[in-house]
């Protein structure tokens, strides 16, 4: 079974696996787009930070009420404390220090550690949920295009209904009802996010289906599954990759928005969770709301740049 699935995987990724020269060609085209390379660089950086970062940072969940709302080094914060004995306010200035290079939040948790933990969550959710969605989308799209007839009709009507469903509301509802765990968030986004991919892949596969090489393999006696897995899917794989890289930002934003409104996984610190806390301390500690947002923005930007570059690199008609 495993050897069979590996061989199927190999065939699907075939054009890249077998043909190193093709891969080199795409890489060369991609490199001409500097923004795209910068995006890729940032994504790799984020991945390394997400994987190895937690080994070096402090515990992101450890509250330290000695140093609440400590600003990053170089910034200061004024604080008035009511003194019950003298019945007046004493002002004191809190300065940032190197023990917390990005400051702390209202519970004294280290911002750097929380951001690193957030990078891990964002990438995990983004990649896994997109993986599920794109896998489903490709499968449904190819199946629909290749089989045609009532299968195509039924699948596409189902896709239409799924597309009309208010996605974010569904996400909020399901997470509220079945509990906020990362697994549920990933599953819900993955199982509802395939519609766009399915439509795009279907239209691509529809045009491929009428090509001569498909007719030729049919004439040679290839089975339906063989044509789908050996001929159709490998030919839409570049489209799938572009789709995936361009839909990751939406997934990351959805997870952040969900955590932001208080429905994130309570056992893990994600950027949205920090933003939720930062929203309430805008006046005292601006950095708590600013820092995770910048990370979120840069990550989404990086994926957008990278996806755009990939699309151009894979498109033979694009002049680079």
């Amino acid at each position: 079974m495993t050897s069979k699935s590996i061989s199927v995987l190999r065939k699907i990724a075939g054009p890249f696996y077998v043909n190193r020269r093709l891969l080199g060609y795409y890489w060369e085209r991609l490199q001409k787009n500097k923004l795209s390379i910068a995006g890729l660089g940032f994504i790799l950086f984020l991945a390394i930070v997400g994987i190895f970062g937690p080994l070096f940072t402090q515990d992101p969940t450890k509250a330290d009420l000695e140093v609440p709302n400590m600003p990053p080094p170089g910034f200061t914060r004024q604080e008035s404390i009511y003194n019950i004995k003298t019945n007046d306010f004493t002002n004191r200035t809190i300065e940032g220090g190197l023990t917390h290079p990005l400051g702390t939040d209202s519970k004294g948790r280290d911002m750097l550690a929380m951001l690193v933990s957030g990078a891990r969550i964002s990438l995990f959710v983004g990649l896994l949920a997109t993986g599920i969605a794109v896998f489903l989308g490709t499968f449904i799209g190819v199946l629909s295009a290749y089989l045609g007839g009532w299968v195509d009709n039924a699948l596409m009507r189902f896709t239409d209904i799924m597309m009309t469903f208010p996605f974010f509301l569904l996400l909020v509802l399901i997470v509220f009802i079945f509990g906020s765990s990362l697994a549920i968030i990933v599953l819900v986004i993955g199982l509802t996010g395939w519609t766009g991919a399915a439509r795009l892949i279907r239209s691509e596969a529809l045009s491929l289906r009428t090509r001569d090489f498909i007719t030729a393999s049919k004439a040679l006696g290839a089975s339906d599954t063989r044509i789908m897995f050996n001929h159709l899917i490998p030919n839409v794989i570049s489209l799938v990759i572009v789709m995936a890289s361009l839909s990751i930002p939406g997934v990351i934003m959805a997870e952040a928005a969900l955590s932001f409104i208080g429905l994130g996984d309570p056992t893990s610190t994600s950027w949205g969770t920090i933003l939720n806390a930062g929203q309430h301390s805008l006046e005292t500690a601006w950095w708590v709301a600013v820092e995770p947002g910048i990370m979120l923005f840069l990550t989404v930007l990086a994926f957008n740049f990278f996806g755009d570059g990939l699309r151009d690199a894979f498109d033979p008609k694009a002049s680079i």
Partner: protein
């Protein structure tokens, strides 16, 4: 054409009904009950919780099997009875009636803001291709697409309300809807909600204009001696802008169910997004189902409207 509209309306009703069913079932199988809110008060007074709970559930028919509740709800809905909101103690229709205007004004203004500015900047950008303005617009649109709307909202509050003190940090419902003060306090929410769409429209308009500028009818128009103003403003613009109608309609769906929802929460605007958000947490199922249903139906009708208007805008399109 008439048959087409009837068919689409029929589809819309089916889809809306499906969404109603899913939302209803999801909410009613949830772990919390709308009664919980009453129970809290009862328990605080030290009375017998179980008997009170049973009495309330019996009164509102919540103890009956799910399927019976569903058909009762559906029957009431068909008779124009939208149910009772447990968490706010008023009829659902009244609740929606007093809150819809806040969502409507926000969505309307944000859409106008995005369309007008987006198309203008996109057009200028295409006409002045490869100038500084064009580059600035490109960078701006990339940033606008990648920035999470709710974080942008937070940052706008931080800069313009907290630091500069130009705006209030919260939405004040004491101002009448038709007043300058109300318009002023909508500036930040409209920007937070609209900038993502705006950036998308800039990118779309620019590339569509550039595509059309290369077409032969433009050469013909210029050869006829038409002024550049007429060529760009009439021939190119009208052809480029047509597909934008679909994109705007598609965005409207995501604004209604995603962006506006979060923007209302960030700025504390008491619109339907905020109402349904609170209702989800209180398991006030009638409110959630009603708002979802209205939103979905509006989006579906708008989509149908677009498709119909399209046949007038573009005589090449015909539905049978």
């Amino acid at each position: 054409m008439r048959n087409y509209i009837i068919k689409r309306l029929f589809y819309s009703v089916i889809i809306a009904w499906g969404i109603l069913t899913v939302t209803f079932v999801l909410l009613r199988i949830g772990p919390t009950s709308p009664v919980d809110r009453y129970i809290l008060n009862i328990a605080a007074k030290g009375q017998n919780v179980e008997s009170v709970k049973q009495a309330i559930e019996a009164r509102y028919g919540l103890d009956k099997p799910l399927i019976e509740q569903y058909f009762t709800y559906l029957g009431n809905l068909l008779q124009g009875n939208w149910g009772w909101s447990f968490s706010t103690s008023m009829p659902v229709l009244e609740l929606i009636g007093s809150h819809w205007i806040y969502s409507f004004q926000l969505i309307l203004l944000a859409t106008i803001f995005a369309i007008v500015l987006g198309i203008s900047i996109g057009m200028l950008s295409a006409v002045k291709q490869n100038t500084k303005f064009d580059y600035a617009a490109s960078i701006f649109s990339f940033i606008g697409i990648s920035i999470p709307g709710f974080w942008l909202g937070l940052m706008l509050i931080l800069v313009f309300a907290v630091q500069l003190g130009i705006f209030k940090t919260y939405y004040d419902t004491n101002y009448p809807i038709w007043s300058l003060e109300n318009l002023k306090q909508l500036i930040l929410p409209v920007m937070a909600l609209g900038i993502g769409e705006l950036a998308g429209y800039v990118r779309y308009t620019r590339s569509a204009m550039l595509d059309n500028l290369r077409k032969e009818f433009v050469t013909t128009a210029r050869a006829k001696g038409l002024s550049e103003r007429t060529v760009i403003g009439k021939h190119v613009f009208r052809n480029a802008i047509l597909p934008l109608v679909t994109i705007i309609m598609f965005d409207l769906g995501s604004i209604v169910f995603g962006g506006a929802y979060l923007t209302e929460i960030v700025f504390g605007i008491p619109g339907l997004g905020q109402v349904s958000f609170n209702a989800i947490f209180a398991n006030d199922y009638a409110v959630v189902v009603a708002i979802t249903l209205i939103g979905t139906f509006l989006v579906l009708l708008l989509n149908l409207g677009t498709d119909v208007v399209y046949t007038y805008l573009d005589p090449r399109i015909r539905y049978d």
